[in-house]
């Protein structure tokens, strides 16, 4: 079966994110002064074949741990969409 994984990779909360700070400042300049913080991250969509949702979930977790995210600096989470 084919699954779609939507993977979100974010800097860990304790890590300074100058890109996010700069985007926040830009939003403030536009008049959105109520924006308290912005954190930049990455979004990936993976299409993969797996026998079950459990197997797909295990595979994506491994991919995140071994390549897609760097555990020293990043957290990850993902949604798995059932076969179309």
């Amino acid at each position: 079966m084919t699954y779609l994984a939507r993977v979100y990779i974010t800097l860990r909360p304790d890590i300074n994110d100058p890109q996010g700070l700069t985007v926040r400042d830009g939003l403030h300049s536009l008049g959105f002064g109520h924006v308290a913080s912005v954190r930049a991250g990455k979004y990936l969509e993976l299409t993969l074949a797996a026998d079950s949702e459990t197997q797909a979930s295990e595979q994506v977790t491994q991919m995140c741990r071994r390549l897609l995210a760097n555990p020293v600096i990043e957290d990850f989470r993902f949604d798995l969409l059932p076969p179309a």
């Binding site: 890590i15 300074n16 100058p18 890109q19 700069t22 990455k42 390549l67 760097n70 020293v72």
Partner: protein
């Protein structure tokens, strides 16, 4: 003694490193393509700067899976010397041969400037020809060089005397103004646990000839040559 200068797709400093090693220091050095996993004939490996795999995903993230990285790991295991410069440092961190990670510069700029490095330890194969605290003028050229490690890792690096270089002023003061990228504790280069792997963001190969504006980088190459000669005796 034989050097391997590793070339990944997107590496751009390999010829500078090879030139300094061969023409300036009369060493035997080969350019080694990243598909070659066998470094058994080499005593030292240089991972030069560049943008391996276009910096896709994260700097160094894809390069660490190149076959040659198995050879680099084995070389380090048997006590050979490995120096990662700029992108090479990023790759060594991604590969787990060095702790920590390199993040986007805190100023969000790509910085291509001369920096000054204070030599924090002479007890390494890369700094044995330096004097304690010696300041080395060495250029940087990067957008993602902000060294990060968690508090426990930083404490360990300090306790084990594994910080090789910190950014400093020309007269050797470590100040926030001298830090070009926001690296934690102004760290510019670190050593592995066994001290035979060095990662550094600045480029010693670009400061190894007077014609290029300075030759402080020679201290690092000559330290390596000295260490390898001593190991052969």
């Amino acid at each position: 003694m034989k050097w391997a200068v590793i070339v990944f797709p997107g590496t751009w400093s390999e010829h500078d490193c090879h030139h300094v090693l061969t023409a300036r220091l009369e060493q035997r050095a080969d350019l080694v393509w990243h598909k070659d996993a066998d470094l058994s004939g080499y005593d030292a490996a240089v991972l030069p700067g560049g943008f391996s795999y276009g910096d896709y995903l994260r700097t160094g993230a894809i390069a660490r899976f190149s076959p040659v990285m198995e050879g680099v790991a084995r070389l380090a295991e048997r006590g050979g010397l490995v120096i990662g410069i700029c992108n090479g440092f990023q790759i060594l961190c991604e590969a787990g041969l060095l702790p920590g990670a390199l993040l986007r510069n805190d100023n969000l700029q790509f910085r291509c400037i001369d920096t000054y490095l204070r030599t924090e330890t002479c007890n390494s194969p890369f700094t044995n020809q330096a004097t304690s605290g010696q300041v080395l003028m060495t250029p940087i050229s990067h957008g993602e060089g902000r060294f990060y490690a968690d508090a426990a890792t930083l404490a360990r690096l300090n306790a084990e005397d594994r910080v090789a270089f910190r950014y400093c002023t020309p007269d050797g003061r470590v100040t926030p103004e001298a830090n070009p990228n926001g690296s934690l504790e102004h760290i510019a280069g670190i050593l592995s646990e066994r001290r035979n792997v060095l990662g550094m963001m600045p480029h010693p190969e670009r400061a190894s000839e007077a014609l290029m504006g300075g030759e402080d980088g020679l201290v690092i190459w000559r330290s390596m040559i000295n260490a390898m000669q001593a190991a052969r005796v």
